[in-house]
């Protein structure tokens, strides 16, 4: 088995060109899936018998919440790869992930709060999932803050990678402690969103949105990665060729 394809991934000029080539392959399917999913979710799907039209926010909320965790996982894996094999491009991927993940987390929180108002009668409920999501936002902000605080890129890469890995070990503990905390302190008065079998007309658009958001993340990541590579390699000679071309 030859590993050249893998080693080439570590080369900034190669990854810069590859990211440019791959971006449309993520962006277009993402656009189609999101438009299709929104059409299916907001227009075609029937209103929920309990929540009326209010449930439709799930088509943005659930994919955002899903992405907030997936992006963190991606970031931590990239950071660990960079830390273990000292691959600079992996660090660039991790650095590019953080603002995207923070945005998804923020979107999940805002849509969750907006959904909570008609359903629970309050914008904010100390619900375990909302609380864990808020903690996740702080984890992202800490990661970005640490990167911003360290001026030397290489040190920022490696230090923030340690933080991302530590965070990944902690996320399940935080999640379970918050769930446990909540089950002890909160009366079960909050209306739980029953999750029986979802009708296909509701489920299919949701799955389309999930896939669409994932591909959208891929596209944004590739664009950010190119920017990150450009800024890191700004003094390299291949940049001049790329820019003048």
């Amino acid at each position: 088995m030859t590993w050249t394809w893998f080693h080439r991934l570590g080369s900034p000029p190669y990854i810069y060109a590859l990211a440019a080539r791959l971006t449309p392959w993520f962006a277009w399917p993402a656009a189609l899936l999101i438009i299709g999913g929104l059409w299916g979710g907001l227009v075609l799907a029937p209103a929920d018998y309990q929540q009326g039209d209010g449930f439709r926010i799930i088509y943005v909320h659930a994919p955002s919440a899903w992405m907030s965790l997936m992006v963190y996982t991606t970031m931590a894996i990239a950071a660990a790869v960079g830390l273990i094999w000292r691959i600079k491009v992996a660090h660039a991927v991790a650095a590019s992930c953080a603002p995207i993940g923070a945005s998804f987390t923020f979107a999940a929180l805002v849509t969750g709060a907006l959904w909570g108002e008609p359903m629970w009668g309050t914008y904010w409920e100390w619900d375990p999932r909302l609380t864990s999501e808020l903690i996740l936002l702080f984890l992202y902000l800490g990661y970005m803050g640490l990167r911003a605080g360290l001026e030397d890129t290489q040190r920022a890469d490696r230090a923030s990678a340690v933080l991302a890995v530590v965070g990944v070990v902690n996320v399940p503990i935080i999640h379970y402690s918050v769930t446990w905390w909540n089950s002890l302190h909160q009366a079960p008065s909050v209306m739980r969103l029953a999750k029986p079998t979802m009708a296909a007309s509701m489920l299919v658009p949701l799955l389309m949105m999930l896939l669409g958001f994932t591909l959208f993340f891929g596209a944004v990541l590739l664009v950010r990665l190119r920017g990150e590579v450009l800024s890191r390699e700004r003094s390299a000679s291949w940049i001049r060729e790329v820019v003048s071309a």
């Binding site: 903690i135 702080f138 800490g142 605080g149 360290l150 230090a159 340690v162 530590v166 446990w180």
Partner: protein, 255 residues
């Protein structure tokens, strides 16, 4: 990175200079066994701390002041204060331990001791463990001993004291360990206080949750073993992993 002296001499020389009276079976060999070097580092940290006693008192005074804020801000009624006492104690303990983290590596980073540790050829993980242990003895343990005093001032009955001491003692082990990672990561960053809390607090939340629950059960006289065990589990996980991460972070800061 400046390299003075022979690398292996680092720790033993550093710690030995302040602690020559200690009988050392392996003093002759340059590579002291793991625990020996860690013990020397621990003794050194304790000795240095006792020479600057003023610094030791600061987190405790801070803890007392945070406790005082709540009666002033909410109400002096003991019945109400008793209800919020677990939260007050743990928020105070968390903030005080955060404040104390600044002392964990700052001086050693400043005078080059950390560099010497990294170059000494000794296991940096064990040395980090020793430093964190010293830090806990100097801040966590006094905090645990002071917590009952704060609790009594909030109207908690004396019967709860053993439970409160136990939960704060175990919980502060975890806090010191988690904090050591954050403190090591922010080494060399100027005005890192806000960043350090942003890094450390989210990771410390399980400790807060389990600790406050244990304290609450101690106050109400319930069975507090379960949250105490969970607290201990977090501490054990911290003991096994945090020194590794802190050592990696210290090495990165020296690169």
């Amino acid at each position: 990175m400046s390299r003075f002296g022979s690398p292996a001499a680092g720790v033993v020389a550093q710690a030995g200079a302040t602690h020559t009276q200690q009988s050392m079976g392996w003093a002759g060999s340059r590579q002291a066994p793991l625990l020996d070097a860690a013990r020397l580092a621990l003794a050194r940290d304790l000795q240095l701390a006792f020479r600057k006693r003023g610094q030791l008192v600061q987190p405790l005074a801070f803890f007392a002041m945070v406790t005082m804020l709540f009666p002033l801000a909410i109400s002096p009624e003991l019945a109400r204060l008793r209800e919020i006492a677990p939260g007050v104690l743990w928020a105070g303990a968390l903030l005080a331990s955060l404040l104390a983290l600044e002392f964990l590596f700052r001086d050693d980073a400043y005078d080059g001791t950390l560099e010497q540790y990294a170059l000494s050829g000794q296991s940096l993980t064990w040395l980090m463990f020793a430093k964190t242990a010293a830090h806990w003895l100097l801040t966590g343990l006094p905090l645990a001993l002071m917590a009952p005093l704060a609790a009594l001032s909030l109207g908690v009955s004396a019967a709860a004291v053993p439970g409160i001491v136990a939960s704060v003692a175990v919980g502060s082990v975890a806090l010191s360990l988690i904090g050591s990672i954050g403190a090591a990561l922010t080494l060399g960053i100027k005005r890192s206080g806000a960043l350090l809390s942003l890094l450390t607090l989210p990771l410390s939340l399980p400790v807060l949750i389990f600790g406050a629950r244990a304290t609450q059960l101690a106050i109400s006289g319930g069975p507090l073993l379960a949250p105490l065990e969970l607290l201990a589990a977090v501490a054990v996980l911290g003991v096994t992993l945090a020194p590794l991460a802190a050592a990696a972070a210290v090495r990165i800061s020296l690169e």
